[in-house]
Each structure stands twice: as structure tokens, then as C-alpha cells.
Amino acid sequence: MKRYSAFAVAREALRYHTGWGRAWAAPTPNRRYDVVIVGAGGHGLATAYYLGKNFGITNVAILEKGWLGGGNTGRNTTIIRSNYLQDPSAAIYEKARALYENMSQDLNYNVMFSPRGVIMLAQTEHEVRGYRRTAHANALQGVATEFISPERVKEIVPIISIDGPRYPVLGGLWQARGGTARHDAVAWGYARACSDMGMHVIQQCEVTGVRSEGGKVTGVDTSKGPIDCDKLGVVVAGHSGVLAEMAGFRLPIESVALQALVSEPIKPCMDVVVMANTVHGYMSQSDKGEMVIGGGADGYNNYTQRGSFHHIEETVRALVETFPMISRLKMLRQWGGIVDMTGDRSPILSKTPLEGCFINCGWGTGGFKAIPGSGWGMAELMAKGHSPLTEAFSLDRFKEGRFIDESVAAGVAH
């Protein structure tokens, strides 16, 4: 792999950019790998990357039904934060946020991590109490957040209206080192690094069946033929239930559509991420100047990557009230992704009833921020059989009543 650097840009500029190679190879699959990861989104690629980097396991294939990062990795609103209430969540999300800080250097790929700060607005008395509690919990967990006053919110976000009639801003939970990153670049950077370690990133290769023998996984059937493996990692977000059915177990997961939209590009007007969970809306401004907007998920099962229009309307209505200046903005694009929701709104990183098969799913509406931490923990789980980061997120927590309840702490939006 040729390293990307300022020197490389200068060198290529002098020879008409003829020296750039492919960022990652497009190999034909081998008959057998030590580890097969299903799903080349952020979480799958990160899992493969840390398997190689931390545990030296590089005989790995990452199989992708569509194209690299074309699922939720390329559909989210790119928000990164770790201000969660429960200890296991704070640990894995903060691990992820910390890894984002050096990801560009680590991968030699500019993921444009921008720790611009994230505010979660408190717009009801209940939220004020909730976020104060979260701030205290974060202090104990070593996550740097603080509860700030409405005046401070206005200072950080001049375009906000803090004394709206319906939902005045009563304060906010501020995480100064939260922010955004370029979501596609995260997938591309990991894919390039995996490919460089000799792993096979195989696109347009759909898994159609899981093979097992005596309760142990032996491989997968794919649209490009059967592939054997010792260990199988299922990291397919919205389609986890479909893969689990192939592997012969069921999950406490429901797949629903979550939508996002962007406006036409405008001049810089807001340099932080603002989340308003009471009114179901969050917004940030991309480097191109578009306002990136997300809202609430649909309430019914859906695999179509297409959501309900009335949710968009609710989100935009709420945001127009909070940010009056966006009322005349034109919206440019709108899209949906299929998110995998668990009952306690926390992910599942776990062994499964099928030996050798591991699952990483249930990130619901907030998976992007967790990509590196999730990959780090999942790799350790797959290599060693246990990981302190993922221990609490096991599949049997529902049966044992060990919920990691973030549905209140995280609000509805992620």
C-alpha cells in the first residue's frame, strides 16, 4: 500500500496522478478463511481491522452483499458522542470516541474527525433532571461532559431560539470532544487498512446460508460459492434477524426505518452538533455547508430503506421552531436506513447458540459513533472468547434481566 501524505500528493501532482493504486483489492474469494465477517459496513470492517492489528489474525474475509459502506454506514448523520448513562455504554462509546481522535493517523486515511462539540438540549424539567444525572454519571465514568445553562447554549449556538413557546431551552448536556466524522471515509479507511493486511474485502457477495456441523459453525454459502471458516462474525445491522435465521437462532430485535435529510448548502452558521430529543430532531452542518438533519424512527417493521413522510414533517417542524432561520431552507435529499432495535436500546455483542458464530448488532439508531469501539471489543471477543468491553452486551442479558437501559438516558434520538 502506498502511504497517503502531503509528499505523495505533491509527487502525484507532478506526474498527472498516474501513480495512485487501488485503495483496496477486489479479490476472488478463497475456499477457506480463519475468520469470515458478514457485512462490510463500519462495524464489520473495524472488527476485521482490530482482529488483524491487535491479534495478528489476518486470514480474514469480509463479505458484503451490496457495496462497501452502502448500508447504515453511509446513511447516518455522522454524530460521535459518548455521553451515555450506564457504565457499560459509556465504556464502549468512550473507547470509540477516543479511537476516533487518532483514527486518521492510525489508518493513514483522513476520516475528517471533527471534535466540534455536541449539545443535547434539555427542553423539559424532566430532561433537565435526566441530563444532570447523566453529567454526574459521566464524571464518574471519566467522560468529559457538563450541564450548561441556556445562556451558554445560546452563546455556543447563536442561531438557536432558547425561549420558544412550546419547548424553551432550559439547559443542555455539552460534550466538547464529541463531534462528527466523514462516514464513508471511516468505511473506506478501514477497508484499505484491512486490504493492506492481506484480508479480503469481497463486495457483491451475498450470504445465503450458514453451514454448521454438530452445533459448530463450519462456513457460509454465498452468491460466489461456499466459503469455509473457523469463526463467523455476523455484523449486518438491520438484516441481523435474517442472518440469525440462517444460523438457526432468533434475536430480540426489530428492524425499522430511520430517516435523515440534508438541506441545500449554506454559509457556515452552526459549528456544533445540536440534538433536541424531546422534539425529535438533531442537526449539524457538514463541511459542504448542508444542514444534516435526523429525526425519529418509524414504529413498524420495515426492510425497505424507505420511511414515512410524516416523521420528516415532525422533525422539520420541531427544528424550525428551535432554529427559526432554517424555515426557508430547501431540502436537497432524504433517505432511510434499516436500524436494528433492541428492547433496552443497547447493542448486542455476543457469542451465539451456534458455537464459533458471533454477533454484533442492535446498535439501533446510534451505531456510527461506536464503530471503532465496537470493532475493538468484537475483535477481542472473537479472538479470545471474552472481552471486558462487550461482556455486559451479551445476548443472554435479556433472559437474565441485566438490561442496559439507554432508552431514557439516550433519549429517542442518537
Binding site: R250, P252, G299, N301, Y303, T304, R306, S308, F309, K399
Partner: protein, 109 residues
């Protein structure tokens, strides 16, 4: 926009008029049942990429719960029927089988 016909009042209701209620025809396992059954009843869901039987409430209408058979991969609605039943009506199942040969879903297949 998703439109479902309320089987009680006969209204073709937009989804803004309805409240989704999750998977239908769950068999209840209460006190005295085994841990696995109770776990499955509480948490495990079919979540199919295909035909899904689900509960809806005509929240901004007659207020009653009803069931719908709907495909989660195409958003096609096969029919709605009253909630006072333990399995989908034969005509709805016939419609689904005609549209999707080889279809199966729990014990109704």
C-alpha cells in the same frame, strides 16, 4: 404513506391515524412458565424480511386494536382483520400464499 383499513369502522386510515403495536399472535407465557418461554414471549420477535403479522390501533379513530398482514420488504398490505382471533383468516393466508409460493411463518405456514 401506509394506509390500512380498520376492520371495525371500515375507514381507510393513514398511518398518522394509527399507532403501531408490534408483532401479532404472540402466545403469552405468564407466571409458572419456563424461563425460555417467558424470554421468547417478552423479547424474541420474528422480525421477518417478508410477511409480518402485526398489531395496530386505530388511535385517532375508533380506538380499537386490529391486526394487519403486511410485507416488510415491499410494504404490500395483504389485509387487516379483527384482533379477537388467534390466527390470520384463511382468505388473508390464501392471498399471501398466492403472492409468495413457499411462504412460511411460525405455525401458520
Amino acid at each position: 404513506m401506509l394506509i390500512l383499513r380498520c376492520p371495525y369502522c371500515g375507514v381507510d386510515a393513514d398511518e398518522t391515524e394509527l399507532a403501531p403495536g408490534g408483532e401479532a399472535h404472540l402466545k403469552r407465557f405468564g407466571p409458572g412458565s419456563g424461563d425460555d418461554d417467558f424470554h421468547d414471549y417478552l423479547f424474541t420477535r420474528e422480525n421477518p424480511r417478508g410477511v409480518h403479522f402485526e398489531r395496530w390501533r386505530h388511535a385517532h379513530g375508533c380506538g380499537k386494536w386490529f391486526h394487519a398482514a403486511r410485507a416488510t420488504d415491499t410494504l404490500q398490505v395483504f389485509g387487516t382483520y379483527p384482533a379477537q382471533t388467534s390466527e390470520p383468516p384463511k382468505e388473508v393466508l390464501a392471498l399471501i400464499r398466492a403472492a409468495r409460493p413457499g411462504w412460511s411463518w411460525r405455525e401458520f405456514a
